[in-house]
Symmetry: C2
Subunit: 132 residues, 2 copies
């Protein structure tokens, strides 16, 4: 693993920790001023660091980000994370989500954020699968 790949992984880890900790100044310091944030599921795009920080500050609920796996190479990183939201110790939602990052010179320039929702499987493969 090159030093640059290690740096990308460290940037992704800091992204998760500072977002979870609502450290907005530290969070903003990881982002390129012209960062692009995209959500493929909803076809939403946010342009620029200020709007993207605001988006996260305003995001409702007592949500938590818990990293499961971070991967990275010289330019790209990925974060598989458990996202939970709840109140008073009750977990109302709990799902796995995935973010991909492009990092240039230590700053995040692009985030692609996948929020996969649950659905029922199509019929025809019950002979091979079990459910949990």
């Amino acid at each position: 693993m090159t030093a640059r790949a290690e740096n990308v992984k460290a940037t992704v880890a800091a992204f998760a920790a500072r977002l979870d900790g609502r450290d907005w100044d530290g969070f903003a310091a990881l982002l390129h001023p012209d960062v692009i944030y995209e959500v493929p599921q909803t076809r939403e795009r946010i342009r620029g660091r200020d709007r993207y920080v605001t988006f996260n500050r305003e995001y409702p609920g007592a949500w938590r980000i818990d990293p499961v796996l971070i991967l990275g190479d010289e330019r790209d990183g990925s974060l598989l994370f458990r996202w939970t939201v709840g109140a008073d110790g009750e977990v109302a939602e709990d799902q796995l989500a995935i973010a991909y990052f492009e990092v240039d010179d230590g700053l995040i320039t692009k985030i692609t954020d996948f929020w996969p929702g649950p659905y029922e499987p199509p019929p025809g493969r019950e002979h091979l699968t079990e459910r949990w």
Copy 2:
């Protein structure tokens, strides 16, 4: 990047290429006999190489797997890919999906396959977002 991380990435690349090419013998050769396949969206699990190869062989449609990004370290890999299905040159579906892999001694032991579907965004963030 260590040789072992390169091997994990090569295994993920071969997984995508052999699946796309319906090279079922070559595909099976990448899998541990006790491989576990999980789909978090549908809470489906398939146990074992034979069932998992059958699942893919039987999967309906003229689907294609087109890798967008492969990441890997010593044990884990991820594949971001474009999945299309259609007939007669028409693309009926086109989505990004993500698979994570655990690799042990060159064989895939675990696959977690995320198939995020589209949905409408929640209200309240239109002042920050654009749509595509």
